[in-house]
Each structure stands twice: as C-alpha cells, then as structure tokens.
C-alpha cells in the first residue's frame, strides 16, 4: 500500500512537471484548445441536425443525448489530461530509445510514461462538456444538488480512469510496433460510439462496449442514473475501473518482460 501511494505521489510530480513543460508552449496550447473546441461544436450541430427529423433516438430525447455527450466529453478530458502519453509509447519512447532511460529509474516505467502526459488541449473539452451538462440539467429540470455535484465529479474521474486503463492496455502494442498510437487510436474510435446511448446499437455492439471494452461504464450508466433510468449500474463503474487497471498493469508487466529479453 505504501508503495502504491508512493507511486501515485511520484506520478503526480511527473504530471506537474509535464504541465510546467506544456505551459512553456503557450501559443500551441491556445491554438490546440480552440481547434478542439471547434470540432466539438461541429459534433453538436450534427446531433442537432439529426433531431430535426426525429423527436427521440431509441427513447432518448435531444436534451438527454446532449447530457450524455457533455458528460462523455468531461471524462475524455480527464483521460487525455492524465494518460495522453499512452499514444507516445511506440512512436516516441520506444522508437527513439527514450524508454531504456525510464528503465533506469527507481520507479515503475508505467508511472514515468503516463506521467509525461501533457495534453492541455483537452481542457477545451472540459469547458464545453461542463457548459453542455449544466445547460441540459437545467433544461431537463434535474435539480443540481450538492450530492449530484459530488457524484458527477466522482464518476467523471472514474470514467477518465476507465478510459485511461483501456488505452494503457492497448498501448502495450508499442512493444511490438512503433505504430502503437494508431492501435490506441482505433480503440478510441470505438469509444466515441458511446457518445450516443448504447440502446441504438445492435446486440453485438452492446455486448462489446459493456463487457469487453466496458465503455458503457464511463458515461452511459452514470447518465442513466442522473436521468433516473437505472439507479444500480452506475455503482459498478468504480469496480470496473479497478479491474481494468489490474488488467492494465498485468498486461504491461508481461509485455515489459518480453521487451527486455528481445532488446528491440
């Protein structure tokens, strides 16, 4: 336990260092945030167009879908802020030989890799997500109580952790191919499916995003709770997060062992 806490504390130090690094590139930061915000606005317009012809999608109203969307955005933001470096593992760390250097530290290399995440750009997601969420709570006449705020905050972070854990699992592809970022990216695309209620998908996709890649626990079940549709599934989210991370660390250690015996 002491070891876990120490690793987390080091991870936070690394993240703070990354933030300092990022702040040096102020202009990059601002341009990034603006362009990402713009893509989100386009997506929202897309949802709006879809709803011009129908009043609901698999039983979900326009406002309810946007609420899910806003909460999803915030979890994505947390995930990219904390775990963005999973994309860099292949093309940056392993290809450039940076990874060997991390193996010399008295810290698990996963902490070092994740700790170098510096995706500030996702800050734009957080802001837009927050605005949409608050607007939709108001429109849907859901009272924003203290309890709701706490719950929201907690499950947004849990959602971010689930996403990050899944990304981390797929990032081990980096130990075999430098193009691991593309592997992670592909699964990220699967994730964007869950910006819409999973009710609209076929049985196979439903099973995939609930049990195999448990994306449904990121935002879908929490949103179901806030809307009063399903009050139980949300509480599985933290358990899913823990399981995902146990798997992620296991897979990582296994891949690392392989990597160290081939030396490529």
């Amino acid at each position: 336990m002491k070891n876990v806490l120490r690793n987390i504390s080091l991870y936070i130090s690394f993240i703070i260092a990354s933030i300092k690094e990022m702040l040096i590139y102020r202009l990059d930061c601002i341009v990034g945030i603006l362009s990402q915000t713009l893509t989100q606005v386009v997506e929202i317009i897309f949802i709006w167009i879809v709803f011009q012809n129908t009043s609901n999608l698999a039983g979900w109203s326009y406002e309810q879908i946007l609420l899910l969307y806003g909460i999803t955005l915030m979890s994505i933001s947390v995930c990219s802020f904390l775990f963005d470096a999973t994309y860099d593992l292949g093309p940056v760390f392993i290809r450039e030989g940076e990874f060997d250097k991390l193996l010399l530290r008295p810290v698990h290399p996963l902490i070092s890799v994740l700790g170098s995440s510096k995706d500030f750009v996702s800050f734009g997601y957080l802001v837009i997500g927050l605005i949409i969420t608050i607007m939709m709570f108001t429109k849907l006449a859901i009272p924003i109580t203290f309890w709701l705020i706490i719950k929201l905050l907690f499950f947004i972070i849990i959602g971010g952790l689930i996403l990050g854990g899944i990304e981390t699992i797929f990032s081990v592809a980096a130990f075999w191919t430098y193009r691991s970022n593309e592997v992670v990216w592909t699964f990220y695309r699967v994730y964007t499916l869950t910006q819409y209620p999973i009710d609209i998908y076929s049985g196979f996709v439903k099973i995939l995003i609930t049990f195999i890649l448990p994306f449904a626990f990121v935002a879908y079940y929490p949103t179901m709770d806030y809307l009063g549709f399903n009050k139980y599934m949300i509480w599985l989210s933290p358990i899913v997060a823990i399981i995902i991370w146990i798997i992620a660390i296991g897979v990582w250690n296994w891949a690392l062992k392989k990597y160290r015996s081939t030396g490529t």
């Binding site: 080091l10 260092a17 300092k20 690094e21 250097k101 193996l103 008295p106 810290v107 160290r260 030396g263």
Partner: protein, 329 residues
C-alpha cells in the same frame, strides 16, 4: 567482495531477415525468418567496490549490450549477473536505487524544464535527504561549473553543458555504481577534462564504482585503473592498465640524435631486431620490440656507422596499442 559479478554472460539478439523486394516483405509477413546474433558471448568478470574500470572495444564489440544487462534493462540470454547482491533484471527497481547511468547523448533530464527542476524530481524519485541533496548540489555546481546553467531549459543547453548537467544528475543520489556509456562523445577537450576530474574526485571521496566505455583513449588513460577489453562479445584482456601496456605495448620507439653519419642507415643495416622509421643527418627514429632485443644492442649496431649523442625512448601509447589490436582483428 565483488560488487559486480558476471558469470558466463551471454546475449543473443534475434534479428529478422527480409528477402529483397515486395515479395520478400510479403513472405516475411507470413513466415518471418530470424537470425541469431551473439552480441555478448560468455563473459566473466568481477569488479570490486571503488574500482574505476574502462570497458573498451571496437564498435559493435558488445559494450553497450553488456552494460544494459548489468543495469537490468536487458535480460541475459544465459549466464548470471549479480550487482550489489541483487540480480538486476529480476529486481530492477531495487537495483536502480543503487546505480546511476549515462547512455551516450540520451538525456535523463526533462527537456523543456530548467535543469534545477529535473534535479528536484530526481531528488524526489530517489528519496534523497534534503541535507545530502543540498550538499551534493553545491559541490557538483562548483566542480562542474553549473552555476549559470541551473535555471536554463535543458533544450537550450549546448552538448557540453548538457553533459555536465547529466553527469551531476547521475551522481546526485550517491549511487554505489555508475555506468557511463560514452559520456565524452562529441565534447571539447576542456569539458572532457572537467568530467574526468569530476569522476575521479567522486570516486575518491565516496568510493563509487565506475564502469566507463569510451572510444577516447585519454578517458581511460586518465580515469581508469583497470581495463577490460572486449572483442566480438568475448573478453580478450582483463587487468590493470599498466599490465595491459606491458602485455601489448612491446613496441618501443626511440629517437637518436647522431653526428658524423655516413650514407643511408636503413640500407646498411638490415636487422630483424629493429626498424628505422625515419632518418636524417642528425636524427634517427626507430622502433623495436622488447622481446627481441634491448636498446643496448640497438645502440651497438647503430654506433658502427655514426656517433650517438643522445637517446630519447618512448613506450607505446595506449592508442597505438589499441590500434594494433583492432587491426589484427
């Protein structure tokens, strides 16, 4: 007691062989062919605490591979490594607490941050006590002349400035063992001097064990007491630096100042025991082997044809010795 022990250490790399052309690539996709390459081929050594060891050999001899195994980055194919009572590839993180390492031009510092921030992170990572950190920082700043560099971003430093900071970062946590893989590559003479002095200084004060690979013979000449020479993955010499010179440095160079020389000496003397490399009316340069003759015999021969006024003898330099060993292959 040995602090580092390697027993029959072997590392085989598997490399992919691809046939030529697109067809070859497609074939490779379905049925990859591998070729084994033995980079380190059963080496043995023991290194004691406080030793300064030069680990040398030609390009591709297997130096970096050995060091990667000693640090635990790479798992050996077979054989054993024990460092400070630990098996590095099994207890890597535990082992990392006791060691420091520099790999060529790769920096362990945070690229976009001021140097001092990296030092602080290192302090946290290695749990360096505050007092010890301050003491080391002050001392290293002085020895490596870092005063003006600490607040600069790493990416803005020159190669030499970066390496000085890198060396400081490596020694900050008082490692018991330090592996330096080509720390002086690309540096100017003054920075090299500075780094050599630093290594010797710390070794003396803290009894740090240092293993140094380099292609600059002066590094070895000035820093190391012991030489391990590796060739094609096998150790071909292991011992004190002086012994190395005695073993391989059998060639002695001599310069004779002469008078009353008649004609061309090289034509007149056709001795198997020594060779004249250069001559003029006043000066003869020659080379002979310890094993075959002595300077007395050479003199005797020479003075048949001229009067010798002065002699100047020179042992072979490490560099010449290495050149000869590498050439023989």
């Amino acid at each position: 007691m040995a602090i580092i022990e390697a027993k029959n250490l072997v590392k085989e790399y598997k490399t992919i062989i691809k046939d030529k052309g697109i067809l070859g690539y497609i074939k490779h996709l379905f049925k990859p062919k591998y070729e084994k390459f033995t980079a380190v081929d059963g080496i043995n050594f023991e290194i004691n605490e406080g030793e300064l060891v030069g680990y040398i050999g030609e390009n591709g001899a297997g130096k970096s591979t050995t060091i990667k195994m000693l640090t635990g980055i790479l798992t050996p194919t077979s054989g054993e490594v024990i460092v400070n009572g630990l098996v590095p590839y099994k207890s890597r993180i535990e082992n990392n607490k006791n060691i420091g390492a520099v790999f060529g031009q790769k920096t362990q510092l945070w690229w976009d941050l001021p140097v001092i921030e990296s030092f602080r992170l290192i302090k946290k990572m290695y749990k360096i006590p505050e007092g010890e950190y301050r003491k080391n920082l002050k001392k290293f700043t002085e020895l490596l002349d870092l005063e003006d560099l600490l607040e600069k971003q790493v990416k803005n430093l020159s190669l030499g400035q970066k390496m000085r900071c890198e060396i400081a970062a490596t020694f900050l946590h008082n490692p018991k063992i330090v592996y330096l893989d080509e720390p002086t590559i690309g540096l100017d003479v003054l920075v090299k001097e500075n780094i050599r002095r630093f290594i010797k200084n710390i070794n003396k004060e803290k009894n740090t064990t240092v293993i140094l690979t380099t292609h600059d013979v002066k590094d070895i000449e000035e820093v190391c007491d012991r030489i391990i020479l590796i060739d094609k993955g096998k150790i071909i010499f292991d011992g004190e630096k002086q012994k190395f010179k005695d073993n391989y440095g059998k060639n002695i160079k001599a310069e004779l100042i002469v008078k009353d020389k008649v004609g061309n000496m090289a034509e007149k003397i056709n001795s198997e025991n020594f060779t004249i490399t250069e001559e003029s009316n006043e000066l003869i340069k020659l080379k002979f082997s310890h094993e075959k003759t002595t300077i007395m015999n050479v003199m005797e021969e020479i003075s048949k044809y001229c009067k010798v006024l002065d002699i100047h003898m020179q042992e072979s330099e490490l560099e010449d010795i290495l050149k000869e060993i590498y050439k023989k292959g």
